[in-house]
């Protein structure tokens, strides 16, 4: 029978933790800045999906369908090596941020769309009846209510974004995943390194998921629906 032994290799930790920390920092940076693109763009796209203007609706729908129909890794390659050939994107890290941001925006758009559509029709009717314009009704009546229901799934989308960001190693962004790959290449300790990598991602997303739960609870209590 094979025999396993769990040994904490303190020497390995001492040698690698700084590199891991640097990789983690890059992962967080890429995810965060991608989110800064994804949320405003996604909100606009989501509102466009429920617009009364057919052209706006069509364009936004096409974007969402197009992006959701392409694997992220393909989008990364296409933007970095393809688009990057024609336009200066400023290196692999910005390219990764743009790609992840554009990619996530499509999913944010769907969250926003479903949030807006979940607000009962009577709310818009009441607002319009009192003389509000379409935009005023959206801004003061529909969106504040939609935001409450979309905040938890939006936070969930951020967690997905962090996991998705591991793919940016394909265009040689020095994120957590690429750091681990390189360490395995130099130390040959694949089991140890990749276990550490998996645990790091898990801890990161688990902590965030807990925070989201707290957020959800607070909103459930504060809601007066």
């Amino acid at each position: 029978m094979p025999h396993f032994e769990i040994v904490i290799d303190t020497e390995l930790i001492r040698q690698t933790w700084k590199l891991f920390a640097a990789g983690l920092w890059v992962t967080l940076q890429v995810s965060f800045f991608a989110l800064l693109i994804a949320v405003p763009l996604g909100v606009l796209l989501g509102l466009g999906r429920v617009s009364r203007n057919r052209v706006v609706r069509g364009v936004c729908m096409a974007y969402v369908e197009f992006v959701r129909g392409i694997p992220l890794i393909v989008l990364l390659l296409w933007i970095y090596f393809g688009v990057g050939n024609l336009l200066p994107l400023g290196g692999e890290k910005p390219a990764a941020i743009y790609t992840l941001g554009l990619f996530s925006a499509a999913f944010v758009a769907e969250i926003v769309r479903s949030g807006v559509q979940a607000v009962p029709r009577g709310q818009t009717e009441a607002a319009r009846s009192s003389g509000m314009t379409y935009l005023q009704a959206m801004r003061y009546v529909v969106l504040p209510q939609a935001l409450r229901t979309t905040l938890p799934p939006l936070a969930g989308q951020f967690i997905i974004l962090i996991k998705d960001s591991s793919l940016v190693s394909i265009i040689s962004v020095n994120d957590l995943t690429l750091v681990a790959k390189n360490l395995v290449a130099s130390t040959a300790k694949s089991m140890e390194i990749y276990t550490a990598l998996a645990v790091l991602y898990f801890v990161l997303t688990f902590v965030l998921a807990r925070l989201v739960r707290l957020l959800e609870k607070r909103y459930a209590q504060g809601g007066h629906a």
Binding site: R128, S129, S130, G131, M132, T133, Y140, Q145
Partner: protein, 242 residues
């Protein structure tokens, strides 16, 4: 004044309004009654263009409602509309529900809008509910907030679409009392209702609808004692004898 001329509307093959003619004079309260599916709600919703029409003309307060050139938002701000299901804004307090349109549509300063809104809520017996959220209010209280919300825009016309149909029986009176007060104050009103006693007592005329048409328009006393049409007699026989 509300004037409806030759209005027709269908949803696909289904005709919901056909050749509606109706005039509601200034300062009068008209009840719109009839069996369900008669088109009462659709008709009242066309009066502020919550529903479009296929044919005809509707003039409210001197303005053609369904004319493309009409400033619909401006017109709607002068027409109060009260819904069966209240449709209060759940994320705002009672006071904020009432003052939102005065602040954002009429651009009144917040303090003035809030003061007037509190007055309106007070006059409807809701002094102690200013800061309550709709979810914390009973149905009757919510509907009174909705009435205050409509009144806050100083409407010249008030429309009520089955304002008491979603209420528990013990709350119907408080809402009807509020509407009665408005009628007494000389507001021009149209009310879709199933409250026959209320229609008889408060309204200046009863408009009886069936199958998308107006069958009969009559003063309430005559309508309830001696309806002219068989259709109305049949309807009253069903709703009054139970």
């Amino acid at each position: 004044m509300i004037s409806v001329k030759g209005v027709s509307k269908s949803f696909g093959k289904h005709t919901v309004l056909s050749g509606i003619d109706l005039t509601v004079p200034e300062k009068q309260t008209y009840a719109l009654i009839g069996p369900s599916g008669a088109g009462k709600s659709t008709l009242i919703r066309t009066l502020n263009a919550l529903e479009s029409i296929d044919e005809g003309e509707i003039i409210v307060d001197g303005v053609p409602v369904h004319d493309k050139k009409t400033d619909l938002d401006g017109l709607r701000s002068r027409i109060g509309f009260v819904f069966q299901s209240f449709n209060l804004y759940p994320h705002l307090t009672a006071l904020q529900n009432v003052s939102l349109a005065p602040r954002k549509v009429s651009r009144k300063p917040a303090a003035a809008a809030d003061e007037r809104s509190a007055e309106l809520l007070g006059s409807l017996g809701l002094d102690d509910k200013l800061n309550a959220y709709p979810g914390q209010l009973s149905g009757g209280q919510q509907q009174r907030v909705a009435i205050a919300r409509s009144l806050a825009m100083d409407p010249t016309v008030m429309l009520f679409d089955e304002p008491t149909s979603a209420l528990d029986p013990e709350m119907i009176k408080e809402v009807l009392d509020a509407i009665r007060k408005l009628a007494d104050s000389g507001m021009t009103m149209v009310i879709v209702t199933h409250e026959m006693g209320f229609a008889r007592e408060v309204c200046d005329a009863v408009v009886f609808m069936a199958e998308g048409r107006i069958v009969e328009v009559a003063p309430p006393d005559r309508f309830f004692t001696a309806p002219a049409s068989d259709r109305a007699r049949d309807f009253l026989g069903k709703v009054l004898n139970h």
